[in-house]
């Protein structure tokens, strides 16, 4: 989320709203945002309904304990609600491609 925060002025300049989502509660996400200086909303999908709807629920095995959480993924969604760009798993760690995809069309017009 820090990577998005450091690109936030670029993204907001391109008329883009950034939203983070995880299967944490909104309260822990707020504390996480504060700790990391994140100023965009971090939404709490506790229960995982939206994560499952987006096909991103995954079972993680952590020390032999099975936990369901989201795969790391970034979607760029245009004003009509259509997905125009997506990155998943390790390729979603660095948001540069998403930032470029969202800034580029604006520069052309």
């Amino acid at each position: 989320m820090k990577a998005f925060q450091s690109n936030l002025s670029k993204l907001e300049g391109a008329d883009t709203q950034v939203l983070g989502v995880s299967m944490d509660s909104p309260f822990s996400n707020f504390a996480f945002a504060q700790q990391n200086g994140v100023t965009f909303p971090l939404l709490g999908d506790f229960g995982g309904k939206v994560t499952r709807e987006y096909g991103l629920a995954k079972n993680y095995d952590i020390e032999g304990v099975s936990l369901e959480s989201a795969r790391r993924a970034t979607f760029l969604i245009d004003k009509s609600g259509k997905i125009t760009h997506e990155q998943v798993d390790n390729e979603a760690v660095d948001p540069t491609k998403t930032v470029d995809a969202c800034v580029r069309p604006k520069m052309k017009s």
């Binding site: 950034v18 989201a70 259509k82």
Partner: protein, 89 residues
Amino acid sequence: MCNKPLQWVMMFLLACSLLAPPVSQSAWAADKKSPAKAEAPMKLKVGDMAPNFTLLAFDGHDLKKVSLSDFRGKKDVVLAFYVFAFTGG
């Protein structure tokens, strides 16, 4: 009689050829998983409509509803799913 050692060598080679492919295949599969590539295909593809949702965000005082449809016709949205809070990234 004199080709008995040869038989052993042949059997050894045969055993190797039977055993080797699965081993090298699994090593290759493990290798393919580790680089920065998607682990499984995505359910939603570029060009699909993003499913609408309403979730809660906490701003320190209030819980606020945020829906994807709030931005319809107004702004592009970067929707970033992450694994867990406080786990870096």
